[in-house]
């Protein structure tokens, strides 16, 4: 199976870095645990943002809440990227060929694209809203997309091991 994987992932798996991850008793499990801890942090801050975009938590101005919650989400995402890279490196060649992993990466790209769309299409509208003000329809569209995409990323993540 290793032979079919892109050369860059074969090289990554055969690197000293990846070997060190596999040969350490604790590094791989620690990355696994860390990935889940950052996931819960990400899911919590994501829920705050998406619930606000869908009209919940109305007592707080959405612009303020989203700006603050996003800091936690970005920190958690960075943590997941680092721990995820450790987990991926250990088995890069066959994980890169795993269809659920490929779907997860596509969904991850869609999630980040959704963030970019929010930046250019909705952020300015939402920034000026007062607490309790009705949200523009595009806020709800982006909130639903965000929830659906990121939950699917998480489901794919857990499913990689079974495909």
């Amino acid at each position: 199976m290793t032979g079919e994987a892109p050369a860059i992932f074969v090289a990554l798996e055969q690197s000293g870095f990846a070997a060190a991850i596999r040969q350490s008793l604790w590094l791989y499990p620690a990355a696994n645990v860390g990935h889940i801890v950052f996931l819960t942090m990400f899911a919590g801050s994501l829920a705050v943002m998406d619930v606000r975009l869908l009209g919940g938590l109305g007592a707080i101005a959405p612009g303020v809440l989203l700006t603050q919650a996003r800091r936690f989400a970005l920190a958690a995402l960075a943590g997941m990227a680092i721990t995820g890279f450790v987990l991926f490196s250990a088995e890069a060649s066959h994980v890169s060929l795993n269809p659920v992993f490929q779907l997860k990466m596509a969904l991850l790209a869609a999630g980040l694209a959704n963030v970019a769309i929010y930046e250019f299409w909705a952020k300015r509208l939402i920034a000026t809203l007062t607490p309790g003000a009705p949200l523009p329809p595009r806020a709800k569209v982006l909130g639903i997309l965000s929830l659906g995409i990121w939950l699917s990323v998480a489901i794919c993540g857990r499913s990689i091991a079974y495909f």
Partner: protein, 115 residues
Amino acid sequence: MIRSCTFFAVLALLTGAAFAHHGWGSYDAAKPVTVSGPVVTSKFENPHATITVRGSDKVWTVTLAPTSRMASRGATQNMIAVGKTISAYGYPSTVEKDEMRAERITVDGKTFEMR
């Protein structure tokens, strides 16, 4: 529309394809095998230690447990080293040829559970 698409995508994902490398799903528990013989190659590595064993019929790839679990149960790197004689009871893979996942292994008269 978007919501239902996501729902069906997820549903298709969870119910669709066959199981593969990890977990116990891709091993046939109805056909347990015992492989006994010398260890030919040995990788004491995460996420699972793997060894190859020259059995009576062929060389089997035997998938073991995460290394920290094995170490804590006494199945250290030395216990599964090349040249050791090992007996592995487990289930053949339904995906990978000549691969089996060990439920337990016996080395030097000691039995270690892998699950």
